[in-house]
């Protein structure tokens, strides 16, 4: 086990209780602090804060509406693909390939769903944690996988959709390859830290 990994796991173990309370405090205090900071700085710089807020906010409504058609199109396609059973079929075909290279079979579906659908992935992660236990190898792996990657297809749809980009270039390929790296990294790191396969 590389030294840095030992260090991280030791910090996480030793700081257990304090870390939880610090994280709780941080997530509660951060947003209020940012809001207060911006408003105070605006007042000092003599920005007409309320009018500026309203002016900036108006843009938000327009953006939200312009995303709708992009998201409807993408989500309907993904939901059809999943509901028809085609996704399960494809995963069934690829599962042997993944297990052959030492990839734990239980998390193969999660690895596939993660870049495509955020809600489905979250459901799958909860399910894996509930079934195998949060401190099991599979439970830990599902948690790290869920936490370390994002729903690439959703991000691309929303960001490109909001500003009306039609040609995505290499963005999808780069995003999906990065997801693959994240998933492989999760398996290796969790195997080293928590034992298992």
């Amino acid at each position: 086990m590389p030294f840095s990994l030992i260090a991280i796991s030791t910090i996480a173990e030793a700081g257990g209780g304090d870390l939880v309370s610090f994280i709780n405090w941080l997530s509660l205090a951060l947003i209020p602090l940012i809001i207060a900071g911006i408003l105070i700085a605006g007042t000092i710089k003599k920005v007409p804060t309320y009018e500026t807020f309203v002016e900036g906010g108006k843009e938000g409504i327009q953006i939200a509406f312009s995303i709708i058609p992009y998201l409807v199109g993408m989500l309907v396609a993904i939901t059809i693909f999943r509901a028809s059973g085609a996704l399960d079929f494809v995963m069934g075909l690829l599962k042997p390939v993944f297990t052959a290279i030492g990839f734990p079979a239980e998390v193969v579906p999660l690895a596939f769903i993660r870049p495509i659908s955020g809600t489905a992935a979250l459901g799958m992660t909860s399910d894996l944690i509930a079934t195998y236990g949060p401190d099991s190898f599979i439970g830990q792996l599902a948690a790290v996988m869920q936490g370390s990657t994002d729903t690439t297809l959703y991000i691309l749809t929303v960001y490109f959709g909001a500003v009306g980009i039609k040609k995505m270039g290499d963005a999808l390929k780069v995003g999906l390859l990065a997801d693959l790296i994240g998933i492989i990294a999760s398996v290796i790191i969790v195997s080293l830290l928590f034992g298992g396969a």
Binding site: I38, G60, I61, G85, Q146, I181, G182, I189, L193
Partner: protein, 195 residues
């Protein structure tokens, strides 16, 4: 590419449903999918209005500019096509920071603003610029300090130490982030060689 993927997902799903006897589920999926999309978009209005309003104040007060000056050395290497004083830098940085601290709600509006600025830099063309691809590559690998949702799930199911996945998650996300940047560079290199 998007057109192909879109048609592929839909048509394969439809054809598979015919043989698999899941036509009913597919009919339902059409309505469920579109409804979910609208729900998400409408739900975004609240955070978009609030954070874009607030960020406008930050921009006018010069906070965004100050912030981007602070991190310029690192970030301008990542986005060589964006002039260091351009507002796009400020938005990119705030988006990355919001993601880093797990403020997903604030991150989306900032990211959209960053994309808007990058589109302006690209003469308003409707194709993705080099900076946009880099930005999205970094974004999709989701570099997060605290994966709050996962910790919450682990708490619900009674983990001994709900937060002991924080270290491994940061490590994994760092590796995928670095991987994303390298892959992005490789694709850019390939594009520029082709002309």
């Amino acid at each position: 590419m998007v057109n192909l993927i879109w048609v592929f997902l839909t048509v394969i799903g439809l054809v598979y449903a015919m043989f698999n006897g899941t036509m009913e589920e597919v009919n339902e999926a059409v309505f469920k999918g579109s409804k979910e999309a609208v729900t998400i978009s409408i739900g975004l209005i609240s955070v978009l209005v609030f954070w874009l309003g607030l960020m406008k104040i930050a921009e006018e007060a010069g906070l965004l500019n100050f912030f981007s000056k602070l991190c310029r050395p690192f970030i301008s290497k990542l986005f060589p096509d964006i002039p260091p004083n351009h507002p796009a830098m400020g938005y990119i940085l705030s988006n990355l920071m919001a993601n880093f601290f797990g403020l997903g709600n604030a991150a989306t509006p900032l990211g959209i603003k960053a994309m808007e600025q990058m589109k302006a830099l690209n003469d308003g063309k409707n194709e993705a610029s080099r900076s946009m691809i880099t930005f999205l590559a970094v974004n999709t690998s989701s570099i997060t300090l605290v994966p709050t949702t996962v910790i919450a799930i682990r708490m619900t199911y009674g983990a001994d130490q709900p937060t002991d996945i924080v270290g491994p998650t940061i490590l994994a996300t760092l590796i995928s982030g670095i991987g994303a940047i390298l892959i992005d560079r490789y694709f850019h290199y390939r594009r520029s060689r082709r002309g």
